[in-house]
């Protein structure tokens, strides 16, 4: 094999680190994948309910109405799947990059249990009609302290890992993880306090909610996924990341502008004009770190693009990173009124959220999981075909879902803007696209059920006992 032959101590040290984080990371991954399966089924149901309210309309299933299944779906996707998968990846990356074994992993598992209890209470609360009806914060008010404490516990453990790091360069992924560690509690606490505990005017609550969505995307989901991309791209290529200057520019750029984003959603609304203006400018400024990150990844890959084909991790990460660039560029274009007016109040919101959470974040997480899990359980993924299935169904499902919601939303907003025709026209204008979205959801469900099944095989040690990794192309390399 063409690889350099690392010193045995090194290998054993890495293996020891992997062993120390095995339980918490696998716990986070499996519960995240289970929540993902729940959320994509709910996603399908809420999509069906949008255009055919009679779907599954039995008295015993009354709680699946759109008004409950939609927030339950988003809650399960963001808190059940995304953040848990992100935490699992962050724990593993942090331990690897600090070259430190984790102590007391049981605390992390306890935190993980609390997190899952919180999400479960939240989703059940929504189903029993106790939703707060605020986007991404729809869980009943009693739930957020549980999630906050559980996350903070993980943060403390990640910081102790960082404290015990081996001397040497602090790799860029570590910065991103530390960022996500600090920013989530700040954003989550602020949003909940100003919306649930000390609510101001309804307009201020709406602005806080929009800010929360923007900041969650730019300051929590993005850093977690970028930490993973920054690790796995050079790792699998076996060459250094292109430029430390670009890494620094990308990180600090995102750190500076990320917390200002979100409120551009309400441009033209009854807010002081500078609030949406500042957010709009922030998403335009965000192009700078996004360019830096994209160029950095691309230049690291130079000449080796065929690796994307054969390595599952590279493939998922590449799609995720591309979706990130796409998301940020589109958000910047959206800050301008001619496009923003067409995307403010329609299905396009769903397109953007899915592009961020599924297209960008989840794809990066899938890539990381395909790399990490074999090292934790000591066996290889059962088959490359299943990974390919997961990849293509996810990619095509996500692209068609985003495209359908985006175009449908444009059409719908255009109909909303017709002052002299009935509102019903706008709603029926979105209908064919909502049906298309339901079809795309079937793809997403198929792909993620396969993923959950495949991951379960690995967790129960039913993977291949082999020296050869599961590849999805024909190249010979590691990954």
């Amino acid at each position: 094999m063409p690889e350099d032959n690392p010193a045995d101590e090194d290998v054993l040290h890495r293996a020891a680190i992997d062993r120390s984080v095995r339980l918490p990371v696998l716990f986070f991954f499996t519960s995240a994948a289970a929540w993902l399966a729940v959320s994509v089924v709910l996603g399908f149901i809420q999509s069906m309910k949008l255009h055919s309210p009679g779907f599954l309309d039995f008295p015993c299933l009354h709680f699946l109405q759109y008004g409950r299944s939609n927030p339950a779906f988003m809650g399960a996707l963001v808190y059940g799947w995304a953040i848990q998968a992100g935490l699992g990846v962050c724990i593993w990356l942090m331990a690897r990059l600090c070259r430190a074994e984790i102590k007391n992993p049981i605390t992390l598992i306890v935190a993980g249990h609390f997190w899952n209890i919180g999400v479960l209470l939240g989703v059940l609360g929504i189903f029993t009609g106790h939703s707060t009806s605020i986007e991404w914060l729809a869980f009943p008010k009693a739930v957020w302290p549980i999630l906050f404490v559980a996350y903070s516990l993980v943060v403390v453990w990640l910081f102790t890992l960082f404290q015990r790091r081996k001397p040497g360069e602090v790799y860029i992924s570590v910065l991103y993880i530390l960022g996500a560690c600090l920013w989530f509690p700040w954003i989550y606490l602020t949003a909940n306090v100003f919306i649930h505990v000390l609510p101001g005017s309804p307009i201020a609550k709406a602005a806080t909610s929009a800010w929360y969505l923007g900041s969650m995307t730019y300051l929590v989901l993005a850093p977690m996924a970028l930490a993973s991309a920054y690790y796995f791209i050079p790792k699998i290529l076996g060459r250094p990341i292109y430029s430390s200057y670009l890494s620094t520019l990308g990180f600090w750029g995102l750190a500076i502008v990320g917390g200002w984003t979100g409120i551009q959603k309400f441009m033209g609304g009854p807010l002081p004009a500078w609030m949406p203006a500042v957010s709009g400018a922030a998403v335009i400024f965000a192009i700078i770190p996004v360019c830096a990150i994209a160029v950095n990844h691309h230049m690291t890959l130079r000449g080796q693009h065929k690796l994307i084909e054969s390595s599952p991790t590279m493939r998922f990460t590449a799609v995720g990173a591309a979706a990130f660039t796409f998301y940020c560029v589109f958000s910047a274009l959206n800050a301008f009124y001619p496009l923003g007016a067409l995307t403010q109040l329609s299905q396009t919101t769903m397109a953007f959220q899915l592009l961020a959470v599924y297209g960008f974040f989840s794809m990066c997480m899938f890539g990381a999981i395909y790399f990490i899990v074999p090292r934790l359980v000591g066996c290889e993924w059962v088959s490359g075909r299943r990974i390919r299935f997961h990849f293509w169904f996810s990619t095509y499902g996500m692209i068609s879902l985003v495209a359908v919601h985006f175009l449908g939303g444009l059409w719908q907003s255009h109909a909303y803007a017709q002052f002299d025709v009935p509102l019903e026209n706008a709603i029926s204008a979105g209908r064919p696209y909502a049906i298309g979205a339901s079809v795309a959801w079937v793809f997403i469900i198929a792909s993620n059920v396969m993923f959950l099944y495949h991951l379960s095989l690995m967790v129960f040690r039913l993977g291949r006992k082999s020296e050869q990794p599961a590849m999805i192309g024909h190249a010979d390399h590691t990954g």
Partner: protein, 245 residues
Amino acid sequence: MSDELQNHDYEHKTSVRDHGSVRREKQEPKTGLEPITLSLVAACAAALMIGGGYLGAKSGGFDFASTTVNGYVPDPPDIEIAAAELSELDKYLAGGEAVYKATCNGCHQVTGGGQGQIPPLVDAEWVTEGTERFAQIILNGMTGPISVNGKSFGSQMMPPQKGSLNDKQIAQVMSFVRHKFGGVTDIVVTKEMVAAAREKHGAQANINTVASLAAADSYLPGEQPEWLNPEPAEDAAPAAAEPEN
């Protein structure tokens, strides 16, 4: 391959051989030190310029009271109101309304209801019946006593208007008053009719009394104009109410 990589270090609980995936992976990533390219710097500068311009244009001077800024709130699109084209009749009556506002409504009021000793025009037989005596009153004025709608009026005098209004103005105002206050919507008074009245009565020096007026069934001679709908009953009724607005 597996033979030559076999680890014989029995002091470790696990050997390298047990960690196939860990062993075959590459070194932990490091960071290169390539410089930032000029084109990227230029792209960043462009993004800064655009974002700064955006902020300047949209922020409304960071004034908390300023909630709308040009470019945010769209102008409503040009809504096609079916702006009914004014008919010739409407234009004619609008001219009469203008004369009425300038000359008559100081005494007879906008509503045509009169005030005090000034008699009303609404449904008055002097308006709805013969046009000759109506024209006489306008041309040469009127003084009481006179009975209008069953009530007696007498102490006020209406001045002659023949010097201040021309034939067309008198014709229009008569048509307007008959349409609006008298409910006579199927015919109008033309300037030819008024010219005939002026020819007949224009030299009269005295102000009219009831005795000097023509009979109630005496209409001024003349044709109805060509533009008047031969069956105007349906169209003219709403049209008659519109000039108010």
